[in-house]
Amino acid sequence: MTEKPLPAISAASAPYWEAAANGKLLLQYCAACARYLFYPRSWCPHCYGGALEWRPASGRGAVHTYSVVHAAPCVGFEADAPYVVAVIDLQEGPRMMANIIGCAPETVRVGLPVEVAFEKRGAISLPQFRPVAA
């Protein structure tokens, strides 16, 4: 793995990645549970209902937790180190993993307000997060 890995897109997640390619973050929503889900899948993990809708997300959230990675997992990430692996509390409720980009790693804190930004990687567009401009 000398390059950064690309996501292996599945049928359940294809709309997510198609929207990302257009600069939009979509989340699945279960109307029966009245809650948003992450990650995309074929059924709601709470009620097992299969009627999930795709809804546009605000793209806003806050850093729930993070780590600054100094020892990269493979060659593709070595040039980026140190970089931030974080879990984001999305405004809609679910959490997702992303890198925090567009700031010095040492400025990242739990609770930092962030917004989605898209990184072009090969043929796909990867949702990332950056600090909300003050």
Binding site: P5, P7, S67, P73, V85, M97
Partner: protein
């Protein structure tokens, strides 16, 4: 009302054997298994006809071609005809869960003597190995972000620090205590390196914040075998068996980003509560604690979630000196994965061996005083799989 479920047939750990952790470049994983089993069986008064169960993990999980039929390989080599045989895997919780499966089969009257064995290499990973290890991360929603195993566990440490004020010095105290215990174990991998200080930990290289190199377990190779039998058979083999008095198991999320909480080990809390309930014991009844310490933060979080202190007070507890040799809460008395060694696929075995040795009063220079009961908590995957055992001098 006592919640204790008395297990029939008094399942017990009758004997343990472990190779010194180290580097065994001349031995394949299969050779390591053979070494473990031949040396243990030469010591123990057992013949093939005495053994009616075999539980092993797959071999070479970190490589490109894991062997998932190890119970068949070694059933054949040992000439066994068994009523219970399986290759099972739940990461670092594998061995804890093997002991539980064996104990339940014995309590059910189905088996009398079950070998729980494993051996592991900790390969210096080439790109193929790195690809294989990356299976533990979600291929779409984690892997593209460059996670590492230390970083995934660091996510817990960071949130715990933010919520409870846990400090890097408190994390380091876990590594310092592990080394102090390792110096009392003749086979600990880091024994020759001598003692370490909090400063040494904080000055070692950053791996994934807040973890420095010395907050991370030390990779090496090894293996061992634990014999679980009826109480009757155990008393013929050992002057003081380690009776399996309490057991708990819980499985939570699979992928780390899907965990319910980052400042709690949910699986530890659930498995620990079950184990205490089944033993009819409380944390105060435990004399020795062994907790899987792949990273320094984990014993802090797990001590809280097992009930050894209030939530958020784990950092202060480990920094108080109580977990050190001579303290009243001896923790990871063999040196832990941090300083005894993290023996690849066999890494969840050492702490059970140690818990048993303590209860059997065979722990040598590191023997805790009056070790009537030991708690051993293991987890596997990204905190997905949890096993808590309570071993006791009394059935």
């Amino acid at each position: 009302m006592s919640a204790r479920r008395h297990l029939r047939n008094e399942p017990a750990i009758a004997a343990v054997f472990e190779l010194p952790p180290g580097r065994y470049p001349e031995l394949s994983t299969l050779d390591l298994y053979r070494e473990v089993l031949s040396r243990a069986l030469a010591k123990w008064p057992l013949k093939a006809r005495d053994i009616d169960g075999l539980l092993v993990p797959p071999a070479d999980m970190a490589g490109d071609h894991p062997d998932i039929l190890m119970h068949e390989r070694f059933g054949d080599e040992l000439g066994l005809r068994t009523v219970l045989s399986e290759t099972m895997f739940a990461g670092g919780a594998s061995y804890g869960l093997m002991i539980q499966r064996a104990a339940l089969a014995i309590a059910d009257g189905r088996a009398e003597a079950v070998l729980c064995a494993g051996a592991g290499k900790f390969p210096r990973l080439d790109e193929a190995g790195r690809r294989s290890m990356s299976k533990i991360f979600h291929p779409q929603f984690e892997l593209p972000y460059g996670p590492t195993i230390p970083a995934m566990y660091a996510l817990l440490a960071t949130r715990h620090m933010a919520d409870y004020g846990t400090t890097p010095e408190q994390l380091a105290a876990v590594s310092v205590a592990a080394r102090a215990w390792a110096l009392r174990h003749p086979h600990a991998y880091m024994r020759s390196r001598g003692e370490i200080s909090v400063e040494d930990v904080l000055q070692s290289a950053l791996i994934a914040s807040p973890f420095h190199l010395l907050d991370c377990s030390v990779p090496c190779e090894g293996g061992g075998v634990i014999l679980v039998t009826t109480g009757e058979l155990a008393r013929r083999i050992s002057a003081q068996p380690a009776y399996i008095r309490g057991m708990g198991e819980f499985h939570s999320h699979g992928y780390q980003s899907q965990t319910d909480a980052f400042n709690i080990s949910v699986g530890t809390r659930e498995a620990g509560a079950q184990a205490f309930r089944s033993a009819d014991m409380v944390p105060n009844d435990i004399d020795v604690i062994e907790i899987y310490d792949a990273f320094s933060a984990m014993p802090i979080i797990c001590l809280e979630d097992l009930g050894f202190c209030r939530k958020g007070e784990g950092g202060a507890l480990v920094a108080s000196g109580r977990i050190l040799p001579g303290g009243d809460l001896p923790l990871n008395t063999y040196g832990g994965l941090l300083s005894y060694g993290h023996t690849g696929d066999a890494s969840g075995l050492s702490m059970i061996v140690e818990g048993a040795l303590q209860v059997m009063n065979q722990a040598g220079a590191r023997q805790a005083e009056n070790a009537r009961a030991a708690l051993v908590h293991c987890y596997g995957g990204m905190q997905a799989d949890h096993s808590t055992l309570i071993l006791s001098r009394e059935a």
